[in-house]
């Protein structure tokens, strides 16, 4: 981020408005400001942190902003959770800052940010806005490649995609997992698919998205061992069978639709099924011949039975295992 360089080398702005959902980027700005405050050699005397909240009084902020810095350097007042500060205090703070141009540097951190507010608009004209938007897609993959390149390591796009499939797009989690990956590979220079599969954890949410869909695909392919493997991953991660079951049922419905669609177009069928895209049905078309209609109908009956038994306290792992064994038989 260029702004980090600016904080490190250029004169400090009067106001920094740091906003956006990416906590990692916010942390980087916070860290850069903190290090800048320590530069004068007076420890953290020129660094003040205040937590924003509804009852925060204007005086708490203005007192700190008006206090002269130690040793002739610059004082930085970092205010977290800026969105929690009341509108009245915010408006008065803007007025105060206008009236006191020689005050210390103020860094306001916002998780949620409404640019339409008058006070925010005026703050932005006074200082520097630092957006911390979440990276996605190619940008995120490039970010990972750059991060590893700094450590003389490389990663292919498809391996980075596999990595993101497990970790998601939270940069804090990504850096933690990248650090772990770097430690795991040691002196090797390229991150491979095997490395990622061996050491990278599934973060909550990603596991459900990743493993559940792979599990239903394995069921469609009648790959019993693979489907059971994913089932155990899900259960070990605390996934509830009653949440897994509807996805298996959906897959059977897709297979049934694929088998019986006749001359109807894929999009017409997906629309009729209430699916949001054609993707799942197109995938199901590949596996439609793995099941007869009788097997699919029996599968629905088995799901209903399992649903009822789960609610009556059957061992969830055992009963889900058996369902998969039957479906893949």
């Amino acid at each position: 981020m260029d702004i980090i360089q600016q904080i490190k080398t250029k004169p400090l702005a009067k106001v920094y408005v740091v906003h956006g959902p990416d906590q990692y980027k916010q942390d980087q700005v916070y860290k850069a400001l903190y290090e800048r405050a320590l530069e004068d050699g007076f420890g953290d005397w020129n660094w003040v942190t205040i937590e924003g909240h509804k009852e925060l009084a204007l005086s708490e902020l203005t007192n700190e902003l008006a206090t002269a810095p130690w040793g002739g350097g610059q004082r930085i007042i970092a205010v977290s959770q800026g969105d929690q500060i009341s509108t009245e205090v915010m408006n008065n703070l803007v007025k105060w800052l206008k009236a006191n141009p020689a005050a210390n540097s103020l860094a306001l951190f916002f998780d949620k940010f409404d640019q339409r507010l008058k006070a925010i608009k005026e703050l932005l004209t006074m200082g520097v806005a630092i957006p911390c938007e979440t990276l996605t897609g190619e940008g995120l993959i490039r970010w990972i490649q750059d991060y590893l390149a700094l450590r003389q390591k490389s990663i292919k796009v498809e391996v980075a995609e596999l990595f993101l499939e497990r970790v998601g797009n939270d940069l804090n989690l990504i850096t933690n997992e990248l650090e772990k990956l770097l430690l795991f590979i040691g002196s090797e220079t390229t991150v491979t698919e095997q490395h990622v599969q061996e050491i990278t954890s599934f973060v909550p949410g990603q596991l459900e998205q990743g493993a559940i869909f792979k599990m239903v695909e394995a069921i469609s392919a009648k790959d019993q061992a693979q489907a059971l493997d994913y089932l155990h991953q899900l259960i070990d991660a605390g996934e509830v069978p009653l949440r897994i079951l509807p996805l298996i049922e959906r897959q059977l419905r897709l297979l049934l639709a694929a088998k019986t669609r006749g001359n109807q177009s894929i999009s017409a069928v997906t629309q009729a099924m209430g699916e949001t895209s054609d993707f799942a049905l197109k995938k199901a078309l590949r596996y439609q011949n793995n099941f007869t209609l009788e097997e699919l109908y029996q599968g629905f009956a088995d799901i209903v039975q399992v649903d009822s038994e789960l609610k009556f306290g059957a061992d969830p792992e055992q009963i889900m295992e058996q369902l998969i064994i039957k479906l893949c038989a």
Partner: protein, 536 residues
């Protein structure tokens, strides 16, 4: 000296001793050797997979006098202190009993102090998922800005209960269950050091019941050692209250051979020996699962079941297992399950055998009566063919005898109409349903329509309708046939008393009075009876 249980006595004291978890050991070793230490770790995984053990090894690696190093000495006062649990720099906290905000606040106060004589102050919080939300929030503050030289190691069996904010501050390591082989190997090592002999089958039984947890496996062995000097499968099964695998196999073999007497005797023996029948059924289910997944080969055990049979057996025993929860005499559901599987031929192989038998019989019948039984054969084999997605092969063998051919067509008229329906020629079927075959002249079939069905007759005479109907007819008779229609009473023909009429005369039927051409056309189109004709 007080007795120290096996799992404590044989807890790994160096990274080299650790069984399995190579992905974690390798990463932590590299971390220690490179000095890239995270300030917070999260160790997750099922119980008994080495989370606390590896946390202590990490603490030793950090605080050893030679450290940070993966090859810590194990001799210095820090290493010894950590092994003995009295190091001032390694604080183990049970998250389950110190779960409130006050305990975490106290911890926050403590972390501000530098370590006494080690490099790092290591906080190991076990069962961290038990902390309250407030306690997690308080801990988050510390994790966000951790003091230098403080390392947190959070251990949990339920990572999904940890708030995302905490997760994103930790380097997470997922511990895996130990495989049966890994457990057996470690047990063999421990027992050899203890000077105790053990059967392989016994160790496998222990490993299966430990469900991937080394602590549980060593706990079972501890009990067995207190019971006997030699660990046999008999000893383990008595300790666990379960039947050894050999008994499960012999039970299933007897079931396979339908030796009901032996099966019931075995159930009774298990019951009388005080074995847990519920557990026995669970073990059977687990064993059948292994057979289905082919981790165990059924043929090696002289079991003749197919995969479909095994799946069905799994279902029956699972139902039995569920029923056992609600009865006081657990042998009854088991005996019923056995009866279900042996007395009634419900196994998939038995059903398949029956189907094959029936199919063979039908095929033989078809061979014996090729012409006259054509309809019957065709109808009987329809189901099989449809199941196999084949075209129905309904065919009549016509001869040179027109009268015989007519009889054949008349007998199979309904089948012909059905064929039209199957070919989706529903209009033709509807028109022809009103007519009746009355005569065959070489390759022409004459169909009579009642007078009031003129519309149907006129419709089928149209080329677009007639041609498809002729095509199906020709296919059925195996010879090109044309259709011609006449107006007439089919009953006359049925009584073998056809009216004097030739096909060529049909178009100007004598029975048709001399009406205006438009009236005739209307009659042909709609049928009906002329009552009065009015000029407009």
């Amino acid at each position: 000296m007080a007795y120290l249980s096996l799992y404590r006595r044989w807890r790994s004291q160096s990274f080299a001793d650790v069984v399995g978890q190579t992905h974690i050991v390798q990463t932590l070793q590299n971390s220690l050797n490179s000095g890239r230490i995270a300030h917070a770790y999260l160790f997750t995984g099922p119980r008994g997979t080495g989370k606390t053990t590896i946390a202590r090894l990490l603490a030793k690696g950090l605080n050893c006098v030679n450290g940070p190093t993966a090859d810590f000495c194990g001799q210095c006062h820090e290493c010894v202190g950590i092994t003995n649990g009295n190091s001032l720099n390694v604080i183990e906290i049970d998250g389950a009993s110190n779960r409130g905000i006050d305990e975490i606040r106290e911890l926050r106060e403590q972390v501000r102090f530098a370590p006494t004589d080690g490099r790092y102050r290591v906080y190991i919080i076990d069962e961290v998922h038990m902390l309250t939300t407030e306690a997690f929030n308080a801990l988050l503050k510390t994790l966000e800005e951790p003091p230098a030289r403080v390392v947190f190691i959070l251990a949990t069996t339920d990572p999904q209960k940890i708030p995302a904010t905490i997760l994103s501050r930790c380097q997470r390591y997922d511990f895996r269950r130990f495989s049966t082989e890994q457990i057996c190997e470690h047990l063999r090592y421990v027992l050899s050091k203890e000077g105790v002999q053990a059967e392989q089958e016994a160790l496998e039984l222990v490993a299966e019941h430990a469900q991937g947890g080394m602590r549980d496996a060593l706990g079972i062995i501890d009990q067995c050692m207190a019971y006997s000097d030699r660990i046999s499968s008999q000893v383990v099964s008595e300790i666990l209250g379960v039947a050894p695998r050999s008994r499960i196999v012999s039970f299933l073999q007897a079931l396979d051979k339908q030796k009901l007497e032996s099966v019931f005797k075995e159930i009774n023996d298990l019951y009388m020996e005080g074995k847990n029948l519920h557990q026995f059924v669970k073990d059977i289910i687990s064993f059948l699962r292994d057979l289905v997944l082919q981790t165990v080969n059924a043929a090696d055990l002289n079991l003749s079941w197919s995969k479909a049979d095994l799946v069905q057996m799994l279902e029956v025993f699972s139902q039995c297992e569920r029923d056992m929860r609600y009865v006081s005499t657990t042998s009854i559901p088991l005996e019923l399950a056995v009866l279900k599987l042996t007395q009634i031929p419900t196994t998939m192989s038995a059903l398949q055998q029956k189907v094959n038998q029936l199919e063979n019989q039908i095929a033989e019948l078809a061979k014996a009566r090729p012409v006259t039984a054509a309809t019957a054969t065709s109808a009987a084999t329809d189901t099989t063919r449809e199941a196999a997605n084949e075209e129905p092969e309904f065919r009549l063998n016509v001869t040179r005898d027109d009268a015989a051919n007519l009889k054949l067509i008349q007998d199979n008229w309904h089948r012909y109409l059905k064929s039209l329906h199957e070919e989706r020629l529903v209009q033709q079927e509807a028109f022809l349903r009103e007519g009746f075959p009355v005569q065959v002249e070489k390759n022409v079939l004459i169909i009579a329509f009642p007078k009031e069905r003129g519309f149907h007759k006129a419709s089928i005479e149209q080329e677009k309708h007639r041609e498809p109907a002729e095509r199906v007819l020709s296919k059925m008779l195996g010879k090109q046939f044309k259709i011609q229609c006449i107006t007439g009473d089919s009953e006359q023909y049925k009584s073998n008393n056809p009216p004097e009429m030739s096909v060529s005369e049909e178009t100007k039927s004598e029975s048709e009075p001399e009406y205006d051409e438009s009236v005739n056309a209307a009659l042909r189109m709609f049928g009906g009876k002329i009552i009065e004709i009015r000029d407009k």
